[in-house]
């Protein structure tokens, strides 16, 4: 039936019609690969051969594999260090760049620049900065702060720290924009009232700014947790394809790639590690949910 505006009345399936293309894409490119990964994790599949069912063998192997525990430890450590930095530092930066001083626009743009730079370019620049004959070591040695170059890239622990620094540096501008949006929604009257009551800038920050942007902090924490658990590029570019000396700086995605790729790639085992990474991510998801529920109460 046609209305006065000439539009046809919608039928019950109209919304589903609109949903269908998106749903099809998600099913094809996310859900099905995920289901496929779950299935593969219970098989001994290799790159060019569908495997046979091996039960929980791949999972048992993972738990007995020292490489898996090193990678899990590194991933969790990465998350534990990077997430707090990426929740707090961009907030401080956002508060700073909201200050009305001449030329602040330049700084806002400058802080955002690393976000639009490609991860490979960023990695290469940092490699030049951190290598044993790079900028930092040259400066340190000229100032006689160290006698031997600091092994930023050739020691597993230092390599992990270097990669964390790159991740945080690259994420600062990105999350700063999130906080700028959130800060824009905080009513100015709250600050005025607090100022009238005699609250100083520090008090205003902790009593008004932080509570007002707390939901955004949760969002930033969640987003940065996801990227921290999936970190690969920084370590690959800084530490080479072995993932640091002896593979000591490998994270879970790094291990998945190493196990699953190549013509001898063990797709089944790599899928099992992927599922374990998924479960790890889920744990942090539930933690985030609990935190947000507590917040709502």
């Amino acid at each position: 039936m046609e209305t006065e505006t000439g539009l046809v009345h919608r039928t019950w399936w109209t919304p589903y019609l609109f949903l269908a293309p998106g749903l099809a894409m998600v099913t094809l490119f996310s859900l099905w690969p995920f289901v496929n990964t779950v299935i593969l994790s219970f098989t001994d599949a290799r790159i060019l051969r569908g495997g046979s069912f091996v039960g929980l063998d791949n999972y048992r192997r993972a738990f007995a594999d020292p490489d898996f525990w090193v990678a899990t430890g590194n991933s969790v450590l990465y998350l534990a260090v990077v997430v707090p930095c990426l929740v707090l530092l961009p907030l401080a930066l956002a508060v700073l760049v909201r200050t009305k001083i001449p030329g602040i626009g330049f700084f806002r743009s400058a802080f955002y620049t690393p976000v639009i730079a490609s991860a490979v370019v960023v990695g290469l620049i940092w490699q030049w900065v951190l290598r044993s004959d790079g900028l930092v070591n040259t400066v340190f040695q000229r100032l006689h702060l160290v006698s031997e170059p600091v092994p930023f890239l050739t020691d597993s622990a230092m390599l992990l720290v270097s990669a964390m620094i790159v991740t945080v540096w690259k994420g600062l501008g990105y999350y700063m924009v999130f906080y700028l949006a959130a800060l824009g929604n905080v009513p100015a009257t709250l600050y005025e009232a607090a100022a009238l009551d005699g609250a100083g800038p520090v008090r205003r920050f902790f009593s008004i700014t932080v509570p007002q942007v707390k939901p955004m902090m949760l969002l930033v924490g969640t987003l940065s947790a996801i990227s921290a658990l999936r970190v690969f590029t920084e370590i690959y570019i800084l530490g080479g394809e072995s993932g640091g000396p002896g593979g000591g700086a490998r994270t879970l995605p790094f291990l998945i790639r190493q196990v699953g790729l190549g013509f001898a790639g063990e797709t089944g085992y790599a899928s099992a590690i992927s599922i374990l990474l998924f479960l790890l991510t889920l744990v942090f998801s539930l933690l985030g949910r609990r935190l947000s529920k507590g917040d709502e109460r």
Partner: protein, 444 residues
Amino acid sequence: MTRSNPTRIAVALLAAGALLSTSGCGLSGGAGDAKEAERTGRVAGRITFRTLQLKPTFTAYVQGVIDAFEKQYPEAEVIWEDVPGDGYNEKLVADAQAGALPDVVNLSTDSFQLLGDRGMLADVAQLDGALAKEYVPGAWEQFKLPGRGDSVYAYPWYVTPEILTYNRELFEKAGLDPDRPPTGVEEFFDCAERIAAASGGRYSAFMADPKGRLPGDWQKMGIPILSEKQDRFTFDTDKAVEWVERMKDLYAKGAMPKESLLKSDDINQLYGGGKIVFGPGSPGFVKDIKQNAPQIYAKTQVAGAVTGKLGHIGIYAQSLGIRKDTEHLDAAAEFAKWVTNGPNQVEFSRKATIYPSNAQGLADPFFSDRGDGKDAETLARAVGADQLKTAALDANTPVQWTNQVGDAVVREMQKAIKGEQDPRTAVQKAQEAANRLLAAAAEK
């Protein structure tokens, strides 16, 4: 913005992120032996031809070869597709799984092994009995498969030999005679030690790059990589421990750039900047240095590769495989033979720093001309071609030394070279890990 919105978005994003973090990792499917095509005696039909990263630099050359073939065989049509190097093997795997391999496909050593082992390639020796004598023996032999007799599963195409390149001036500064370069691994290490002592930390001798050095260095030292039956690794020997000890000592003495233990992709930059004495062992590199660092090029000396006890280099030819179940076997086979014939390979070698695997092509005077013996590029071409004539398969990386085996060995070596692990333990652990991977591959 309400309070709950970001929270909801956060939870949704986390779930989606978790899902996506795992979703890219699955691969399934299998590929069995393909049904064999038969010759009809008629070179006709439309065939697909896939090359590895030849566009746009060699578009005119390849198209010229195709046009000439189509002129010779008017009933045949060649559809050419060029795929970038990045992800080439992955695409090949995906196509093999989907039964969508091209009729004629450019294969590297590892992709040849993969498709050949799975019975996806036609036996070209059977297609043309007289073909063998057209190619350099080492190249022809490379495309045989263990346990398959005299069958050969690809047409050898272009080859890149290993040579030795070094900075003559820095070599002399270390008190070494540039006209007497090292020929064995131990001798190479001795040179490196003297270079490190003379450099005062301003430059290094060579790239540590254990992944690139192994198992080649061990083969050149006469270390048995595999048992006679080729069913287990046997490199855990005193000689291998000696290799690790030397590497560790040289690394500590600054004979190698520190980061080269993990990465070796900056060797051209380091050599071009006079920061390293031994350059990469490929003739193509000499051409790059000529273009990008003429001052260093003038100091570059070229010699035969370090071959140690073997006395010859290995051979790694690019090849053209024929899809076993191609619909136009005659056209595909004739075309692959056409592309890899002497004149076409020589013409290709004049355009790029590569060498023909075709015996007639390699005998072309272009490859024996040493000029006045002073120009590094000309000399590199002649030295490389000379080495190819005696190249043999025993210097090649064994197929059992997969990328994963290489990674596992290299991880132990890196720890030992850095001094985090005793060299003997490192070699032991490396062999254990390599044998575990080999056994797992054999089981499945």
